[in-house]
Amino acid sequence: MTQKLKLPPQVKETELRELYKQMWLIRFFEEKVDEFFAKGMIHGTTHLSVGQEASAVGAIAVLEDKDKITSTHRGHGHCIAKGATVNGMMAELFGRTTGYCKGKGGSMHIADVDKGNLGANGIVGGGFAIAAGAALTSQMKKEGYVVLCFFGDGASNEGSFHEALNLASIWKLPVIFICENNQYGMSGPVKEMINIEDIADRAASYGIPGKVVDGNDVFDTMNGVSEAVERARNGEGPSIIEAKTYRSKGHSKSDAKKYRTREEEKEWLLRDPIKLMAEVMIEEGIFTQQEADQIKADAKKEVEESVEFAKNSPEPTLDALMEDIYA
């Protein structure tokens, strides 16, 4: 044990293997989805968070079950980290009735309201105010939960960002705005779209804390989010956490990535979040390489099985078309 691993109070050492497995589940799930899209086995579009697993897993690791999240169009990782099963997710992408949305939402709208996942969102910046509203419920009904609002660097340029952060700050709502800065808003490099280095700096204009963490380092992310969650739970209001990370894949399924270089991609690949996590955990003696390999294999198997589950699930009948429009 060369260094003492610092964990936030909300995360126990015994949970780390599970978090490691979540990282692989996300990776394998998305690679599988990528493959199926490429083969034309599933239709529509999808946004992959390969390379960003640590920010999803690290941030959600510090939440309690009662806490809630709002997700983005790039939300598979958030769902899995918040406890969604890959079966239900894969079935949703296959458009089957056993999917999280009975096949009506698809990749961009996976929600698991019971587990506190208020849903992915196809509108960039659509989650800010919804998160604030969910936090308002917690505050008014004294339910004690906090809301983690994921957003991207691109969404921070939406007007809703400003309106919701201002509102959350004046009402001291229990919400944490976590920016996964993956360097690109679709094709737009963050440096060309934002005139400051750190999006976290925008917190100053709302009189709330803003902090930058290493989004590829699951431990750094969880430690950074931990403070913000405590603050929110204590009624001190919202924070911004900016997790610097990198979108390894293109924006969506049809992206030639002409706006960036192979060299840049390779450089970030050296800091692959799963590899980094495994290195630390082996170094800290939390598991062996062999155990790490076993977890990886388990995750792979689970994703393989989810494909079988999805394929064997029924398609919705046409009756379902007009169902669920109104409560």
């Binding site: 208020l118 008014m140 919701a164 201002n166 109104y326």
Partner: protein, 327 residues
Amino acid sequence: MRELTYLEAVREAMSQEMRENEDVFILGEDIGVYGGAFGVTRGMIEEFGPERIRNTPISEAAISGTAVGAALTGMRPILELQFSDFMTIAMDNMVNQAAKIRYMYGGKGKVPMVLRTPAGSGTGAAAQHSQSLEAWMAHIPGLKVVQPSTAYDAKGLLKAAIDDDNPVIFYEHKLCYRTKSDVPEEAYSIPLGKADIKKEGTDVTIVATAIMVHKSLEAAEELEKEGIHVEVIDPRTLVPLDIETIVQSVKKTGRLVVVHEAVKRGGFGGEIASLIAESEAFDYLDAPIKRLGGKAVPIPYNPELEKAAVPGVSDIVTAVKETLNRL
């Protein structure tokens, strides 16, 4: 029975509901001590306090999204938009979020919220504060759209709207606010989707909404002197629409005039006319259906121009006579 103004009826419906149900609260701009742009919430903050009569920053995008988030997590928010024109700023949350969440999530979750907003011209507020945009909202599956014309209807329909588990857009016409009618003191509910025959007649059916109900009744009175018996129907809710009552009336009269203040082009009158043309009432039509709506022009400031931009009593009288070949 005592008389209340439309405005007082709206306020009473909210107050009674808030006394009964802790989950109901109001948010909006200047609704606190100011009492709202039109004074609808005047006095409510004194009874219910600033927690439940929530004054918001001028952030229509945030407050609409916050209402969605709060509704999704168990509250029953009433959102007051100062002018229905500002719907443009709240549009994303109503159209892309509130209306679709339940469907996208495969029937999980619900968004029980009411967006109340004053609409219409006649106050000299000019182009950006006088529109009638209800057809936009009626176009969106997942929303309900209510347009009461009398104090009695306003109170009963607002209770129904608050009790409804879906997002409801509740249009209050500014010129209706000072109109009076008998309103019972106790709480009562008028089901959404039930038209009201405001006056029975045999010669021509007028379907009118909001302030045009009053103008149509005035026109009907004038026509009665010439022996023309007009039936005036107020659908009261556009979504869901009680088309059956209109069909039955048109089968009786054989003639239909549709009147709304909203711009005629693309207005909801076209929907009513089309539904009648498609219905069994078609074979009973003895004259072309007439639509009266606002001219395709922004609402002007000058009072005479403003009046000329929307249908008046004499326009309705003329339209009725035209359908009877009595001009």
